[in-house]
Every structure is written in structure tokens, then in C-alpha cells.
Amino acid sequence: MSKSGTILYLDGVSVSFDGFRAINNLSLVLDRGEMRAIIGPNGAGKTTMMDIVTGKTKPDSGEVYFNGEIDLTRHDEADIAMMGIGRKFQKPTVFESHTVEDNLMLSLKGPRSIFPALFHRKTADEARRIDDILGIIRLGDKRHMLGANLSHGQKQWLEIGMLLAQDPKLLLVDEPVAGMTDAETEETARLLKDIAKTHSVVVVEHDMHFVRELGVKVTCLHEGSVLSEGTLDFVSADDRVVEVYLGR
């Protein structure tokens, strides 16, 4: 396998916690501009995989490359984020004592050092961008509400908004539609497809309708490694996938 041309390249990655192998010799390649859906049973290691990519967890072994050239295991979270990998967490975490608007403002792409931040003035461009995002995540009327006071689903949306604001090259989206209504789920699928036109995306979801909606290649993880890969129809026809994941 060649790394060049890939946006994300994992090869032979393993990690264990107190002897439990959460990721087991996992290999996964994502091409530039690709969107990939990842499914798999609870505990398969999907979130852990994202932890590894974003620098939160260091793998015990294996290669993790971004953009074909950057060894992500040598960088920390902030570096990785700056390189253009954004993430939405499974459990939504937003800045609770900031307003929705400020949450977005802090996430907006731009320099990340202290002094510029100290003398920063909001530009018209940024204001517009924030308004746009607020429109997308439908929190326009809640822009001055504190993060802490949002409902669960609203936090999910805000997280997505923060991810959009960062405008990363690669988006890792962990269970974006958990807690959303069916209509919102469809909306989110549309949004992600839209984003995927210009970005690379990895989506983790258990909602098969949603995954189907996305209509992209699907990888099913199980016990830390790839169980099956292909179109959704292909994967869901796999007996092992049915056995461990979809159920009968």
C-alpha cells in the first residue's frame, strides 16, 4: 500500500489498555476527498481509532500517517488539530460557559498563538462565517445562549458547528446523529455529503438509515480490526457482520 495520495493511512496499529486489546493490527486507508462510514459493534474500537488519529491515545505499534507524509504518532493533539484534522466527539463537549457564538468563534480557523488572540478583533469575514454556520446548525436563535444550557441534541449540533468552523482537511465525526430526530438525521446526512465534496470525512454511526443515506464505502470494525469493507449492501450481507452487529 502506498501512502501517497492518502489523507489518512493506518497500518498495523494496535493499542491495549491494561492488557485488553482495543485496537488489534488495524489497517485503514482513506483517500483524499473520500468519505468513509465506519460501523461496528459497541466496543469495536471506533472511538479509540479516532483517539489515535487525533493524538489522544498513542498506539503501541503501527503506522499512522496524515496526508501521506506526516507521522501523527509524533505529534500532540494541538499540532494535529492545526494540521487540519477536526473531530466531533461521541459525547458532545462544548465550552459550557461560553455562548454558542463564542464557541464557534474560538473554533474558527486562524492563528492559534497567544498574542494574536490577545489583539484579535472580529473581522466582518468571521462574523459572516459564524452566521453561516449558525444557520447550518439551526442555532441562530440560541446564539447568545450558554453552552451549558443546551439540550443534548443542541450540543450535538454545536459540536458539528465547531467542526465546520475549524474547516479541517479531514473530519472525524463520531456518532453525529445520536439523539437527533429522523428529519434531522437526513439533514445531517445532506450536510456531510455537502462537506465531503471538498473535504475528507470519516463518520462513525450506528444508524443504518443514515449510513445508507451517505452512500459511501463502509468499513465494519470488530474487536479492533476490520471485519468487512465495501458498499453498505455488501457489508450488511456479510454474515459475520450480521452476526456481531446487525442482528437478525
Partner: protein, 231 residues
């Protein structure tokens, strides 16, 4: 079994519930649906005693609960699976389950076998800390933990969130089983419409802090009901 009447709730000056009236009967599955932020969680938390209603009443088995604390409500047979799981992160899975022993008589202090039948992964991971589990595993633990208490009323706030499809099916079966065999009342908040439609004996639709529709599960296919669930 559970009667909520005319419940209102405020967060500071913001109003989250506006005169909600709702019943959940023994041997029935009562579903609450609604868009994000309409007040479903607020309602559930008011029922289990995490929030104190500004006005209105909650009665369980004919007794008003408004003054009683969350632990007394739990002791009287209400158990709760919260949105966001809230497992005890530093307690092992086994200990998490055992926290459900508190309201039980000494003789009943065991973990019912059906918990492990339903969620086999919990049996494998008895010694692991709750917080180390994956999201879906935690959700399973949260449901299992609620079952340990042998509730008369089970309140589930989006229990399928983050759970793999096969287990969602199992949960559906389990809920039905609990309703049918034990005859307990089940109050279920769901976004997952299909799941709801399959299970519910009665659905309540919420919007902006109010119950805007109550009826049988089939109503979910009516456009005037669907309206409340679209964006």
C-alpha cells in the same frame, strides 16, 4: 401508575415545561417524542426527581411525589436510564450494577440473570471500570443497572443512543418482555421513530415544552403528527 399533571418547570427564568400532562400505565409502553430541545429530558428528570417542578404534580401509584427526593422515588420503584448514560466511571461494571441494590431487600440483592442475557458484554467486562467502556457499552450498562432495581416504572431517556443495531433489537425485545411478564410501566423517550412505532402502546408528542399530541403508535404516520418531528 404514573400521572403527571400540569407540570411546569423553569431554568432560572427560562421555561422548559409548560403544563405537561402525561400518564404511564402499568403493562404499557408509553413513548415521548419530540424534536431537540422541546423538553423531553426535562420532563423525565422532573419525574425521577432531579428537577423540582415550578408547579403541577407528579403522582406515582396514587401518591404525590412532589416533595419526595430522588432516592425515595427510586425506592418506591422508579428507575431511570438517563440521557448521556451517567455510569459511575470509577466503579467497576459489577459495582455499577450493585449500586442498584440500595432499595432492595437483602435477599433480593443479586443481579438478575436476564441482564446478562440481554447484554452479554457486561458479563465479560464485570471487572472493568465503567468509564473505560465504549459509549454503547456504557449505555447497556446504564440500562442493566436500572433493571437490577426491579422497577415498577422504568424511565428510559433515549436508551438506544449509540447502541449497535442488534442490541437495539434486543432492547426492544427486553422492554416488551418486561411489560408483558412483569407488567411494569415503561416510559420511553425516543428519537428513533421506527423503534418507537414498533414498541409503543401510546405516544406523546412534545413541542416547546408542551404535549401536543397523545394517541396510539399508529398516529405516528399521520402527517399532522409528523409535522412536530420534522425540522
Amino acid at each position: 401508575m404514573l400521572e403527571v399533571s400540569n407540570a411546569t418547570l423553569h431554568y432560572g427564568a427560562a421555561q422548559a415545561l409548560r403544563g405537561v400532562t402525561l400518564n404511564a400505565d402499568a403493562g404499557k409502553i408509553t413513548c415521548v417524542l419530540g424534536r431537540n430541545g422541546v423538553g423531553k429530558t426535562s420532563l423525565m428528570r422532573s419525574i425521577v426527581g432531579h428537577h423540582r417542578l415550578t408547579s403541577g404534580t407528579v403522582a406515582f401509584e396514587g401518591k404525590a411525589l412532589d416533595r419526595s427526593a430522588a432516592y425515595d422515588r427510586a425506592r418506591s420503584g422508579i428507575s431511570f436510564v438517563p440521557q448521556g448514560r451517567e455510569v459511575f466511571p470509577l466503579l467497576s461494571v459489577k459495582e455499577n450494577l450493585e449500586t442498584g441494590f440500595a432499595p432492595l431487600k437483602r435477599a433480593d440483592r443479586n443481579i438478575p440473570e436476564h441482564v446478562f442475557e440481554l447484554f452479554p458484554v457486561l458479563k465479560q467486562m464485570l471487572g472493568r471500570r465503567g468509564g473505560d467502556l465504549s459509549g454503547g457499552q456504557q449505555q447497556q450498562l446504564a440500562i442493566g443497572r436500572a433493571l437490577v432495581m426491579r422497577p415498577k416504572l422504568l424511565v428510559l431517556d433515549e436508551p438506544t443512543e449509540g447502541i449497535q443495531p442488534s442490541i437495539i433489537k434486543d432492547i426492544g425485545r427486553a422492554i416488551r418482555y418486561l411489560r408483558d411478564s412483569a407488567g411494569i410501566a415503561i416510559l420511553l423517550v425516543e428519537q428513533y421513530l421506527d423503534f418507537c412505532r414498533e414498541l409503543a402502546d401510546e405516544v406523546n408528542i412534545m413541542d416547546r415544552g408542551m404535549i401536543v399530541h397523545t394517541g396510539p403508535a399508529e398516529d405516528l404516520d399521520k402527517p399532522e403528527v409528523r409535522r412536530f418531528l420534522t425540522v
